[in-house]
């Protein structure tokens, strides 16, 4: 991966992020159809109540968007993309606002350093409140982005509700840059995860429902690719190639449960392209989207 030097090295920071687990009604297929085969779906097949992570202002006073709004439900899956740089300390202030299902929840982070009290995993007899935050309660996770934390990593519920929550979209991504690493012009988060009868990207299935990603020729594009669930996926983008750490070009990369990677390139291919999981059965059940590149 290319890492360019920044003109102004940033100082290590303490970053405070306010997040809550909130109830939501989620539609996996908002346009009601598979745009490629023409198959249609009724709301009863695609809409379900769930709990998602949502970004808030300080002390959870006001909800914020997780992503730029392009849909009535604010695209709350995945949870907020949490940015940091190597050396930063993170204070993730989490509140469980699950007032409907009233389940415990937590946040468990991959890729960063922390004490066991910030692990966010439920272990009966050993873990504390961090792994079992009850409705109405809050907890602050104290994390450090260490020298080996640069990259993209998942975070997710690891409370007693974990297995139900993960299928419902209670997960998100950490994006950690090197101390002097340059920010990309475009950063796309794509989380491959099954949901009920569907195979989704960011909780949506089929072209047009999955994220419609946009860039311009000349942009430095970064894909944050993650997998949640129990299956393996193969990330593939049409019309593009990237290089592995060993310098080998590739256009498809495999990832298993909770694995994640970044792919970066300088955009040079205008047009509308497909990106998808190349496991055919996953693609057929919705794990496919479009990537539009405009001429500069």
């Amino acid at each position: 991966m290319l890492i360019a030097a920044s003109a102004t090295p940033a100082e290590a920071a303490v970053r405070h992020v306010w997040v809550a687990a909130v109830p939501a009604s989620w539609n996996i297929v908002p346009n009601g159809r598979d745009g490629i085969t023409g198959a249609t779906f009724e709301p009863a097949q695609t809409v379900f109540p769930t709990v998602v992570y949502r970004r808030y202002t300080k002390r959870w006073r006001r909800p914020l968007r997780n992503a730029p709004v392009a849909n009535v439900d604010h695209n709350l899956i995945p949870g907020p993309l949490i940015h940091a740089r190597v050396g930063d300390r993170l204070r993730i202030h989490f509140k469980n606002m699950d007032r409907t299902l009233r389940n415990p929840h937590s946040m468990h982070f991959h890729g960063v350093s922390y004490k066991p009290s910030s692990d966010g995993a439920y272990v009966p007899g050993f873990s504390g409140k961090d792994g079992n935050v009850r409705p109405g309660q809050s907890y602050t996770y104290r994390l450090t982005a260490g020298p080996d934390s640069a990259g993209v990593w998942p975070y997710h519920d690891h409370s007693p509700s974990m297995h139900h929550s993960l299928e419902g979209g209670l997960w998100g991504a950490l994006s950690i840059r090197g101390r002097h690493e340059r920010r990309p012009d475009r950063e796309f988060v794509t989380v491959f995860a099954p949901m009920g009868d569907f195979q989704t990207i960011n909780g949506r299935a089929f072209v047009g429902n999955t994220p419609v990603l946009r860039a311009r020729v000349g942009d430095r594009v970064q894909w944050d690719v993650l997998a949640i669930g129990s299956e393996h996926h193969t990330f593939h983008v049409h019309g593009h190639r990237w290089r592995t750490a060993a310098g080998v070009p590739e256009d498809t990369r495999t990832l298993g449960p909770a694995e994640s990677f970044r792919v970066t390139w300088r955009e040079d291919a205008p047009g509308t392209w497909l990106y998808h999981c190349h496991v055919e059965q996953h693609m057929e059940r919705g794990m496919i989207g479009i990537f539009q590149v405009a001429k500069r």
Partner: protein, 291 residues
């Protein structure tokens, strides 16, 4: 493929199954691991054609009816006539879990694809053998089927593409949600559920606003304050109607939305249920104005 077609033709001849004059060919797509539609109703005498649109080899095997297609290669097809009414489950023996169901009926009923508003009229269409006379429509609102109408040729010789020979029609006034079927001396059609709704009519107006924006005003009649409304745009990159903003109707049963961009895109307002998705009624389609 060739072998399958020859075998099919030979079987049809052997059975002496002469297709009725208004018989149709109905297509089923074979996907990677599924039939689409997996559940299909046809008129007795129709021929079903299975087209393999996947990259895998499939077959069709009927357990009760006995017919099997043999191997159907990618881009190939197999067909078979179904002269006898019945319900026929079938499978692909190559791919576990790839199943389908074919219902063959002496009459085939079709009607509104969406809910209909109480008090309005909707049409039911019945494909029938040409020799069929006295086709009646029966409805079941919970107390069993009772006759509600007699189906006949449409006035003016046609009814929205249903003017082919052997199709008869009936207009029904929507009073309550019911299950309908067509019946004649030779048997009954499949059942068709028609949902009746009290959802109000939704009207929408759009005009240009400042800074390249569009202002959309929505109202419901009769008034339904608090009802949920979603504004949808038909967008090429979204492959259909895409919900962009939502609101509840105010005390005067109105709502207004401001849109940025998407000039020229088709636009509509949809009254939805508590899940903010299930459509109850919708406005006519407008366009986002150009500046």
């Amino acid at each position: 493929m060739r072998r399958a077609l020859v075998a099919t033709a030979a079987l049809a001849v052997a059975l002496g199954a002469a297709a009725p004059a208004n018989a149709e060919s109905i297509f089923v797509s074979m996907g990677t691991q599924s039939f689409s539609p997996a559940n299909l109703d046809v008129l007795a005498g129709d021929t079903v054609v299975w087209r393999n649109n996947s990259t895998k080899t499939h077959n069709v095997k009927f357990e009760t009816e006995g017919w099997g297609s043999g191997r159907v290669e990618p881009r190939g097809a197999a067909n078979h006539p179904f002269p006898v009414a019945g319900v026929y489950p079938y499978i692909c023996t190559i791919h576990d879990g790839m199943t389908g169901r074919l219902g063959v009926y002496p009459l085939l009923l079709s009607g509104p694809a969406k809910r209909v508003r109480r008090g309005t009229s909707f049409a039911l269409h019945v494909r029938a053998p040409e020799s069929a006379g006295g086709v009646r429509i029966e409805a079941d609102s919970g107390a069993g089927f009772v006759p509600v109408a007699v189906a006949g040729p449409a006035a003016g010789g046609g009814h929205e593409g249903h003017d082919e020979p052997g199709t008869v029609h009936a207009n029904i006034t929507a009073a309550q949600t019911a299950t309908y079927r067509a019946a004649f001396a030779g048997g009954v059609s499949q059942a068709l559920r028609v949902e009746v709704t009290d959802a109000p009519d939704l009207s929408a107006r759009v005009r240009r606003a400042r800074r390249g924006r569009a202002l959309v005003k929505v109202a419901a009649d009769p008034a339904t304050p608090g009802a949920r409304v979603v504004l949808q745009l038909k967008l090429r990159e979204r492959f259909g109607w895409w919900p962009v903003v939502r609101a509840r109707l105010d005390k005067r049963s109105r709502a207004s939305f401001t849109l940025r961009g998407h000039a020229g895109a088709p636009l509509r307002a949809v009254l939805v249920g508590p899940d903010w998705t299930t459509p109850l009624s919708q406005s006519r389609t407008l366009r986002v104005p150009r500046h």
